[in-house]
Symmetry: C2
Subunit: 110 residues, 2 copies
């Protein structure tokens, strides 16, 4: 059965801004409340994760992560309200594109 697959991402001036990899990273930070935990779960380095976050922030022009340091349970990280809004918009578009493609092309018989 031949299927049409589709991948989307956002670009600005020809530079990648956001795609599935960065979505995964932010969602994992949101889920775990910790950058360290997120990077361990995804098998990427802490340095890489921060590099990615900084790149997205620079492109979008707003902060994505709030960090809390110290305290009894140690530090933590959470997404800023704008980051949460952005993720929701992106996922909505992503699902909408998939639905559109499936509706229009479905399974192919080339």
């Amino acid at each position: 059965m031949m299927k049409l697959r589709v991948k989307i991402w956002l670009e600005e001036d020809g530079q990648p801004v956001f795609g599935d990899g960065r979505l995964k990273l932010l969602k994992e930070i949101q889920k775990t409340g910790s950058i360290t935990a997120a990077t361990e779960n995804l098998g990427v380095s802490y340095r890489h994760a921060w590099g990615e976050i900084r790149k997205i922030e620079q492109r979008l022009g707003f902060k994505l992560i709030d960090t809390q340091t110290g305290g009894r349970g140690g530090g933590g990280a959470s997404l800023t309200p704008r980051a949460i809004d952005f993720l929701q918009s992106y996922e909505k578009i992503s699902k909408s594109v998939s639905a559109e493609i499936t509706k229009k092309f479905g399974i192919l018989n080339l």
Copy 2:
């Protein structure tokens, strides 16, 4: 200006069958009438190109390339009629997906 980009490819049973890279290779063979010339223009090895062609042929179940050996002007390669049909269908779908995405989402203001 934020733009939504999209990439499509064909899969069968979770295995990639055809995408932009393979499209480029077949179109270059069609244009030049020669596998050697196509691989030189694309900067890939002859061996790699044949490997790719064989993989697509196995997945699709039909021959893509007709080769002519010898003669005054040396050998040549051309796409089979089924390969030409397939390329046309694929490009039509690809353009249609892009048009659909542009119509529905255009330039984004996330």
